[in-house]
Structure formats: structure tokens, C-alpha cells
């Protein structure tokens, strides 16, 4: 029940925040923060009660008892569609990240939104509810439903509260995601009908669809449908072009959850569905997927360096970092996949902080153009120092979480394909180039003596502090996260490629 409660809690919190808008302009944000904190506490409290040894069990598809949490009711029995939610270590990590970054997103937009603040928070919470559903759904029909649920409010966040080119950016976002959603739906339907032909009864259950037998050609095309749908979301080169526009135009909270969480649904889809459902086709396709990953790493880094818009720079850096995730997933050994998961979490934290910085800069300077910044360390040392920290995380400094992710991916990848590992490692150099030029343009250089700016206050420093501690923890003692993910990743690996 906990899993269902969690989703209902977020939906209800969103509705309540919307309703409270008419009473007070400040109530919605407090409500949103309260509901997210409540959700996080509820989740962690529930997880605490799970016996210790449950965490080391390998989740079995046919035995819900081996999962951490499980919930299932019949929904549309005629087509074998169930309302089935389940949580293993991987979902636990990602749902926790979602709720945590949701809170950070609310804090980051604290006094940015004056137009319809309640509806804003409602959309934020509904997107998060959709994301949580995506991470928990074990029925592909339900998964698709949540996939759409998370996108529509996100579209509204960009379209209503975005910046100067919000109409263009939100439409681009919508078209890319709807097109990929359509592919996903088609692929799911084809897969379900193949299964129905084989077994004589309909089912959309993940566990039933695993191991569906089909001809290699058909398998390839259905796999490709899943793959493209999820790599658009990830995003990887060449499906990434919606991302810089959407990120740049979205309000701060939107960018934070877009980069911090929504991109991870793409990686999650690849890891949970694409590769395990089509093990053979994925093995054949792995070189292409890894080449796209390596291309993303380098292409994203070069374009990040080319940008003059602070937010766009951070957006392209995400393309580069998610390239490591794609590489790790398709290298498909325990080192690389653990690295990909770690990279997802660490990138969520570091990029959320960088987008928050971008939002704070825009709020104070009314521009994102780095050519009009410079020397801001002098005006706002706290902002400068925290930005430096996250720029360093972003360039993969050892001791911070991103390094653990990237290093594990590289180790795993090197055993599979050393040359791609060399190309990806070049990404470590190019990352330094864009991250440091960003610091130079914005925070170093000659300060403008006329400028009067307020530095971060306690609220912002608290959010930054949480993210800093998180990245240090992941960088120096990542074992708890690795241990939680270990059983499920092993079971996926065992069921996946030969």
C-alpha cells in the first residue's frame, strides 16, 4: 500500500496546493514542500521496517516476496492489465532521489513564481507523481500511463512559467516527447500482442513479457522502438536537441527536476525494459548504442563550451554526462551498470545545483548571458564557492559522486571496448574545459563596481548544503547505494545478455 499511498500523496498535495492559491500566495510552496518532505519521510520510514536481509535478496519476477515492496490489483482483466507497483533497490534509489530533488526544486523557485503559484506547485507535484509511478510500475500499460502523466504537467510548467521563448521550447519538448511516447506505445502493443499470440492470453505485466520469444528481425524493430523512446528522454546524440531549449526556457524548478529526475526515466527505461526484454537484440545493438553514448559525451562537452548562455551550457553538460550512462548501460557488466546508476544519482544532485545557480543568477541579474556577468565571486562569494563545488563535481573530481560513476563506467567499459573507453575518457578533459570557462565567465574576472547583489541566504544555503553533503557522501562512501542496487542489477544482468 505504501507505494500507492506515495503516488496519491503527491497527487493530493498538488491539488491541495492549487486550491490553497486562492487563500494565500505563500501557502502553495509551503504545502508543496510539506507534502514532499512527508512523502520522503513516509517512504524512508516504510523502508526502515523492511528486514535487513530483504535488501540482499535477488528480486524474482515470479515471487513478489523477494521485492522490497509490492502492490497489485486487477485493473482491466480482459487485456491482462494490472495496477502493479513494485519496488526493488533500483527503484528505491531513484524514488528517493525524486522526492529529495523535488524538495530542492520547490526551494529553488521559492520566490520566483508570482503568477498562479498554486497551479505551478500542482504541476510540479503531479510531474513528480508521474515520475514516481514510472519508477514503480511493473505493468507496461500502467508504465505508459505514468510516462504520459509526467510529461503533460512538465509541458505546462515550461509553457506557462518559462522564459522569453517558452512557446517554442515547450512545443519542441512536447513534440519530441509525444513522438517518442508514440513509439513506446506502439512497441508495447506489438510486444503484448506477440506475447498474446505465443501464450494465448493478454498480459502487460513486465514479468510475463520478460523472455517473450520472437523472431530476431521483429525483436530488433520492437527493441528499437523502446530504445529510441528512452534515448530521446535520456537524451543521447542525435535525439538531444529538445533538451537545451527546454532546459533553458523552463523555470528554475522545472529545469531542476527535468535534468535531475526526468532524464533518469530514460536511463531507467533502458535498464529496466529495453535491455532485459530484448537481450539478444540489445547485445547486437550494443556497439551502436555505445557509439551514440561516446558521441554524446564528446559532442555535449564541445557544445557546452561553445555556449554563452549559462543555462544552455549546463544543459549541454547534461548531454555529455548522460552519455556516460548510456555507455555504462550497454557495456552491460556489473561495474559499468553500477557506474551508470551512480552517475544518474550524482548527476541529478550536481546538475540540480547548477540549474539552481542559473536560476539565482537570472533572478538577480535578469540575464543568463555570461558575457554580461564576470567577477560575481566578489559580489556573492557564497554563490561563487558553491558554484565552484558543483562545477568541480561536474568535471569529475575524485572524492565527489560523479567521479565514482564515471570511473566505474570507464572500468566496466574498458574491459568491453577499450577504444570507446579512451574516447569517453577524453570527455574528462573536455569537461574541465567547459566547467572552468563557465566559472571564469560568471564568477571570476573583473567585478562591476556598480553592481549591488544579494548573496545566498540561509534557505538557499540549506538546499546547497544538502546537495554538497550528498555528493561528498557518494564520492567518499558510495557503498550503501552500491549495495542497495547490487542485487537487482545482478538479476537484470543475469536475465539479460548471455
Amino acid at each position: 500500500m505504501l507505494l500507492l499511498d506515495l503516488i496519491i500523496l503527491l497527487f493530493a498535495g498538488g491539488a491541495l496546493a492549487w486550491w490553497s492559491e486562492s487563500r494565500s500566495a505563500k501557502a502553495p510552496r509551503w504545502l508543496a514542500l510539506a507534502f514532499l518532505s512527508l512523502g520522503l519521510l513516509y517512504l524512508l520510514g516504510g523502508v526502515m521496517q523492511i528486514p535487513e536481509q530483504q535488501f540482499s535478496l535477488i528480486p524474482q519476477p515470479d515471487n513478489p516476496q523477494t521485492w522490497l515492496l509490492h502492490y497489485r490489483v486487477d485493473w482491466i482483466p480482459r487485456f491482462g492489465i494490472n495496477f502493479e507497483l513494485a519496488m526493488d533497490g533500483l527503484s528505491l534509489i531513484l524514488v528517493t532521489l525524486t522526492l529529495l530533488l523535488g524538495g530542492v526544486a520547490v526551494v529553488s523557485s521559492w520566490d520566483e513564481i508570482s503568477f498562479r503559484p498554486g497551479f505551478f506547485q500542482a504541476n510540479l507535484l503531479w510531474t513528480l507523481a508521474g515520475v514516481v509511478g514510472v519508477f514503480l510500475a511493473m505493468d507496461l500499460f500502467l508504465f505508459f500511463l505514468f510516462w504520459e502523466v509526467m510529461l503533460v504537467p512538465m509541458y505546462l510548467l515550461i509553457a506557462i512559467w518559462g522564459h522569453e521563448q517558452k512557446a517554442f521550447a515547450s512545443m519542441k519538448f512536447f513534440l519530441f516527447t509525444q513522438f517518442s511516447g508514440l513509439l513506446l506505445l506502439l512497441a508495447i502493443l506489438v510486444l503484448a500482442s506477440i506475447h498474446a499470440n505465443n501464450s494465448g492470453s493478454y498480459s502487460f505485466s513486465y514479468f510475463d513479457l520478460l523472455g517473450t520469444a520472437m523472431s530476431p528481425q521483429l525483436g530488433f524493430w520492437v527493441m528499437l522502438g523502446f530504445f529510441i523512446a528512452f534515448t530521446v528522454k535520456l537524451p543521447a546524440f542525435p535525439f538531444h536537441t529538445w533538451l537545451p531549449d527546454a532546459h533553458t526556457q523552463a523555470p528554475t524548478a522545472g529545469s531542476v527536476i527535468l535534468a535531475g529526475i526526468l532524464l533518469k526515466t530514460g536511463a531507467y527505461g533502458l535498464l529496466r525494459f529495453t535491455i532485459p526484454l530484448f537481450p539478444q537484440a540489445s547485445v547486437d545493438f550494443a556497439p551502436v548504442a555505445m557509439a551514440l553514448g561516446a558521441a554524446s559525451v564528446i559532442y555535449g562537452a564541445v557544445l557546452a563550451f561553445a555556449q554563452t548562455d549559462f543555462k544552455r551550457l549546463v544543459a549541454y553538460s547534461s548531454v555529455s554526462h548522460m552519455g556516460f550512462v548510456l555507455l555504462g548501460l550497454y557495456a552491460w557488466n556489473i561495474l559499468a551498470v553500477q557506474g551508470a546508476v551512480m552517475q544518474m544519482v550524482a548527476h541529478g544532485l550536481s546538475t540540480a545545483a547548477l540549474f539552481m545557480t542559473a536560476g539565482a543568477l537570472q533572478q538577480r541579474l535578469h540575464t543568463r548571458d555570461m558575457r554580461r556577468m564576470g567577477g560575481l565571486w566578489h559580489n556573492m562569494p557564497r554563490m561563487g564557492a558553491t558554484a565552484m563545488f558543483f562545477a568541480l563535481a561536474s568535471l569529475g573530481l575524485p572524492g565527489l559522486g560523479n567521479f565514482v560513476g564515471e570511473f566505474l563506467v570507464l572500468v566496466g567499459l574498458f574491459a568491453v571496448n577499450p577504444w570507446l573507453a579512451v574516447i569517453a575518457a577524453i570527455g574528462l578533459i573536455t569537461a574541465a574545459v567547459y566547467a572552468l570557462i563557465m566559472m571564469q565567465h560568471a564568477f571570476q574576472g573583473t567585478p562591476d563596481p556598480q553592481r549591488q547583489l544579494t548573496d545566498y541566504g540561509p534557505r538557499e544555503m540549506a538546499a546547497m548544503g544538502v546537495l554538497i553533503i550528498g555528493l561528498l557522501w557518494l564520492g567518499l562512501y558510495p557503498q550503501p547505494v552500491l549495495d542497495v542496487a547490487q542485487p537487482v542489477l545482478e538479476s537484470l544482468l543475469a536475465g539479460g545478455a548471455p
Binding site: A306, V404, L436, Y477, Q479
Partner: protein, 611 residues
């Protein structure tokens, strides 16, 4: 004390954390006390550690916790203590403390004192981790950490974009080497399944014969990291620019400690390098080329700090030469004596700059012998050691390297001759500096004298630069012995005579002016050669043309997202189709009727054909 090894890096780390969190809100004397005191305490701990280790000098390993465990990868947060570690720790905390003490006066008036000491302390912590780590991944953490602190401190005065550019150059160029090193780690782990340094050595000896391709490749990648950090060819170009940082930073990071990390890395993994003779040869040849290239450049500089920077590059070249010819202990010995006399020279240069309104150009100094006696004596002693004049510390260490080079089979005598040429140039350029800055006519008057916090570290380093050659380092267990045997007495005598000849030449040219080279210097060829060497053999221009420009060009080319052209193509096609179809909808009955009839005819024709 051996059980509290972790306390040594923790002390400066805690101080750095405290200074960062308080962000300058502490009273300034407390900031200075914290910054210098933490390193002083760490030095004390190193001393105690050394004393208790000396009772039972066997290597010790100490694991704090498992960093991460995935599959067979299990790097730890753990330390390894042997003679080599102890030597490095002593240099880092000992010389480091003196430089911190000096900084409390040098940086007294800087508004960002807290930030300065936070970075400096963080550096000391990272450098200690680098030398104490028991596995290559934890070492890599320290390795990147010192690179970060170097970046932060070179760009410390961030308001001048020139400093920012120098800092970025330092970070990015060294990161090229670091990435090679990371690939070396990947290769070693993939082949041997561990990153623990001692296990690697053991497993490698069991797995490979000397000269096997894989180990040659792996060591070459590690060497890539070493040449980046230690500013050797071809990645040395960042170090002269790094002089943009405050002078004590140059003394600590860019002379005494961080830039010698590459030497440490090779010495620490000597078992691996011994399995790869081609890599060792590359180490020796790169060292020789670098020491000559940098010596020629140093001879042509005007900026006091750039002269010292090139001389650092050159001296590390000697260390590489020593490692390459198997004189492991001599390489480390030179590292130690160099730390003393180069820190001394930088700090003395800092005193000159500090007392002379931030003047860097040696031709605007002169006659400072009587005006700044402390700086003069420091410089004189430091330069004597740098030039390897007999009975100074630099003499003993450099002599050992040159003799080992001479005895190296095949190209040994050539390496020796090259090293001697370098020694001659070193003597000339270091005393050129002394004669121009401290003798002759005064150009600029000093406006102050160094106080005790600057004078005391200088005096201690003066003593160390002289007697440093007489200490014996506990390296016998940690590093293989240099092959013994004495070459002919003539070889010894030449090694002693060369620096003396160099100093005499410098005297004749720059002070006594008995030797007039102005005709040679002012000739067309002389001018061009001077410019060529002044620019550091045009390496910066070459790299600009080879790497920087093409990268910037590519970035500009791609800036507006060429991939979008494809998607926009879809959009434009749909819009065009939309216009085409909407134009059909004209609202004129006659047009509709005629198209209907036309369509009917076509349809009938098709059906008739089909039928």
C-alpha cells in the same frame, strides 16, 4: 603514533574545512594561526611517526574503510607507510610549514586571507594523500586534489582574467596527463584485477616479462600523468604561466611538492617501470630534453619568477633522468634537496617582490645586496645549491644522478654529457640572476624589510640547502639500489668543475663584463634565437595552433546545433505541405468542381486499367 597516521592529512583538511565554512568570518590572527598551525602540527606528527617507525622500519599498511566495492574492484581509503612515504611526508609538512609561516606575513594585507589558507591547507592534505595512498585510485584522488588546489591558487587573484587563464591552462594541460594516467589505471586493473600498489607490483612481476607490450603501454600511460603533473615535455607549458599565483604558492606547489609528484609516482611504481625498459628509456630521454630546453629558456627570461619556473622544469628533468637510468634513490634525493633550495629561492624572490612594489623584472632591480641582505644571502645560497657548487646539497644529489647516467649502458655517456651541458647552463642562468638583481646599480628602492615570519623560514631553508646533502634518506628498503662502482676520476672532476666554470662565466659576462657578448646577442641570428628561447621554443604558439584554435573553431561551428537542421527540415516540410494543401481550399465552386471531375477521370482510368 603509527596508529594515528590518518591524523596527519586530517589536520590540514579539518583546518581547510573550518576556514571554508566560516568563510572569512574568523579574526585574521586566528585564520593565520589555523592555517599555519595545522600544518605545523602535521609536521610534528610526521616527526613522531618517523621516530616510532625508526624502531621497526618495516612497511606498514593501514586501511580506514573500503571506498567502493563492485565486483573485484575494491579500492580502499587506506595508507601505506615506508621510507619513501616518510621522506615525502617530511618534505610536504616540513617545507610546507615554513611556507605557511612565511605566508602569514606575505599575505597579511590580502583581503581573502581565509580563502588563501583554506586552499593551501587543502593542498597539503591532498598532497599527503597522494604520497600516503596505498592504492592507485586513492592516489589519483590526491593527484586530482593537488591539481585542483593548484588551479584555485594560481587563479587566487581572480579579478585579473590573465590569472584565470593561467589557472585554467594549468588545470587543463595537467588533466590531459591525468587522463592518460586514468587510462593506465584502467589497463592495470583490467589486466591484474587490483589497484593496490604493492599487489600490482607483485602480480605484474608474475605476469609479464620485461618489455612485454601491455606493461610498456601501462607504464607509458602512467608516465603521461607524470609528465603532466611534473611539467615535463611535452606537457610542461603550464608551469611558467602558473607563476601568476602568489609567490608562496609557487614555492610550495610549483617548486617543492606538487610538481615532483610525477617523480614520486614513477618511484613508487618502480617495479612496474622496471618491467618496461622502453618506458624507462623514455623517462630518461624526456628528462634530458626537458632539462636542456628549460635551461636555454631560463637563460633568456626577464621575469624573476619565470626564471625560477623554468629552472624548476629543468631540475625535475634531472630527477626524471635519474629515475630513467635506475638511480632511484638519487632521483628522490634530488627531489628533497630541490625542495629545500627551490623553496628557498622562491621565498627569497617573494621577499624581493614583496619589498619592491611587486616588481618582477630583474632588469629593474639591481644593487639589492646591501638593501635586502636577507634576500641576498638566501638567494646566494639557494643559487649555489641550484648550480650544484661543491659542498651544497644540490651538488651531492645532482652528482649522483650524473654519475649514474654515465654508467648507464649504451647511450649513458650521451645522457651524462647532456646533463653536464645542462649543469653549465644552470650555473650561468642562476648566477646571472644573482648578479643582475643583487649587484650593480640600484634601480628600485625597497620600501620595507622582511619581518621575522619571512626571515625565519628563509634562514632555516638556507641551512637545509647547505647541509641537506649530508642527510641519508631511509630509502634502502623502499627503492632498488643504484648500481655501484666508481667511474674514472676524470669524470668526477669534470662534474665538479662544470658548475664552477658556469659561475665564472656568469661573472665574466654579467658582473665583471670582461666578456662582451653584445655583438653576438645583437646580431640578427642572436636576436632571433633570443626571441625563440624567450618564448619557450614557441611551444605555446604550436599548441595554440594544434589544439586550442581547432577546438574553438569546432565549437563555434557547432554552436547553433547542426543536428537541429534535420528536425527543422521536418518542420519546414510540414509547414510547406500545410500551405500547399490550404491553398487548395480556395472557396471557388468552379475550382472544386473541375478538380472533382479531374479526380473522377483519373480514378476511372485507374480502375479501367486494373479491370
Amino acid at each position: 603514533m603509527l596508529d594515528f597516521l590518518w591524523l596527519i592529512p586530517l589536520l590540514p583538511l579539518a583546518s581547510a574545512a573550518l576556514l571554508m565554512v566560516t568563510a572569512g568570518s574568523l579574526p585574521r590572527p586566528l585564520i593565520a594561526a589555523c592555517g599555519a598551525g595545522s600544518v605545523g602540527l602535521a609536521a610534528l606528527c610526521v616527526l613522531l611517526t618517523g621516530l616510532s617507525w625508526a624502531h621497526d622500519p618495516v612497511p606498514r599498511q593501514m586501511e580506514l574503510w573500503t571506498w567502493m566495492q563492485v565486483g573485484t574492484l575494491r579500492p580502499t581509503i587506506g595508507f601505506y607507510l615506508d621510507g619513501l612515504t616518510l621522506v615525502m611526508m617530511s618534505v610536504i609538512t616540513g617545507v610546507g610549514f615554513l611556507i605557511h609561516l612565511y605566508s602569514t606575513e606575505f599575505m597579511e594585507e590580502d583581503e581573502s586571507l581565509s580563502r588563501y589558507f583554506a586552499y593551501m591547507n587543502l593542498f597539503v592534505a591532498a598532497m599527503l594523500i597522494l604520497v600516503m595512498a596505498d592504492n592507485l585510485l586513492f592516489l589519483y584522488l590526491g593527484w586530482e586534489g593537488v591539481g585542483l588546489c593548484s588551479y584555485l591558487l594560481v587563479g587566487f587573484w581572480y579579478r585579473d582574467p590573465v590569472n584565470g587563464a593561467a589557472a585554467r591552462k594549468a588545470f587543463v594541460v595537467t588533466r590531459i596527463g591525468d587522463t592518460a594516467m586514468a587510462l593506465g589505471l584502467l589497463l592495470l586493473f583490467t589486466e591484474l584485477g587490483t589497484l593496490d600498489i604493492q599487489q600490482l607490483a607483485e602480480l605484474a612481476q608474475g605476469k609479464w616479462q620485461p618489455g612485454d607490450t601491455t606493461i610498456v603501454l601501462a607504464t607509458a600511460l602512467l608516465l603521461g600523468g607524470a609528465v603532466g603533473k611534473s611539467a615535463q615535455l611535452p606537457l610542461h607549458t603550464w608551469l611558467p604561466d602558473a607563476m601568476a599565483g602568489p609567490t608562496p604558492v609557487s614555492a610550495l606547489i610549483h617548486a617543492a611538492t606538487m610538481v615532483t609528484a610525477g617523480v614520486y609516482l614513477i618511484a613508487r611504481n618502480h617495479e612496474l617501470f622496471l618491467l618496461a625498459p622502453p618506458t624507462l628509456l623514455a623517462v630518461a630521454v624526456l628528462g634530458l630534453l626537458t632539462l636542456l630546453l628549460a635551461a636555454f629558456t631560463a637563460l633568456n627570461q626577464h621575469d624573476i619568477k619565470r626564471i625560477l619556473a623554468y629552472s624548476t622544469i629543468s631540475q625535475i628533468g634531472y630527477m626524471f633522468l635519474g629515475l630513467g637510468v635506475g638511480a632511484w634513490s638519487a632521483g628522490i634525493f634530488h627531489l628533497v634537496t630541490h625542495a629545500f633550495f627551490k623553496a628557498l629561492l622562491f621565498l627569497a624572490a617573494g621577499a624581493v617582490i614583496h619589498c619592491l612594489h611587486h616588481e618582477h623584472n630583474i632588469f629593474r632591480m639591481g644593487g639589492l645586496r646591501t638593501r635586502l641582505p636577507v634576500a641576498f644571502w638566501s638567494f646566494l645560497i639557494g643559487s649555489a645549491a641550484l648550480a650544484a657548487l661543491p659542498f651544497t646539497s644540490g651538488f651531492y644529489s645532482k652528482d649522483q644522478i650524473l654519475l649514474a647516467a654515465y654508467q648507464w649502458p649504451q647511450i649513458g655517456p650521451w645522457l651524462w654529457a647532456g646533463g653536464l651541458l645542462g649543469a653549465l647552463l644552470t650555473a650561468i642562468y642562476s648566477f646571472r640572476l644573482v648578479f643582475i638583481v643583487f649587484f650593480g646599480e640600484a634601480q628600485t628602492e625597497p620600501d620595507r624589510q622582511p619581518g621575522w615570519r619571512m626571515a625565519l623560514p628563509l634562514s632555516i631553508l638556507c641551512v637545509a640547502s647547505i647541509v641537506g646533502g649530508w642527510i641519508s634518506l631511509p630509502l634502502a628498503e623502499a627503492l632498488p639500489a643504484t648500481q655501484s662502482g666508481h667511474p674514472a676520476a676524470a669524470v668526477e672532476w669534470i662534474s665538479i668543475a662544470i658548475p664552477v666554470i658556469g659561475v665564472s662565466l656568469a661573472y665574466l659576462i654579467f658582473l665583471g663584463r670582461q666578456l662582451d657578448l653584445s655583438a653576438l646577442v645583437n646580431s640578427g641570428l642572436g636576436q632571433r634565437l633570443h626571441q625563440f628561447w624567450y618564448s619557450g621554443w614557441r611551444m605555446d604558439a604550436l599548441y595554440n595552433w594544434l589544439w586550442v584554435r581547432p577546438y574553438q573553431f569546432t565549437a563555434r561551428l557547432l554552436k547553433d546545433e547542426p543536428v537541429d537542421l534535420a528536425y527543422n527540415g521536418v518542420v519546414h516540410t510540414s509547414v510547406a505541405l500545410h500551405h500547399l494543401l490550404s491553398n487548395l481550399q480556395t472557396g471557388r465552386m468552379r475550382w472544386y468542381a473541375s478538380t472533382m471531375v479531374g479526380g473522377l477521370i483519373v480514378l476511372l482510368a485507374v480502375l479501367a486499367r486494373a479491370g
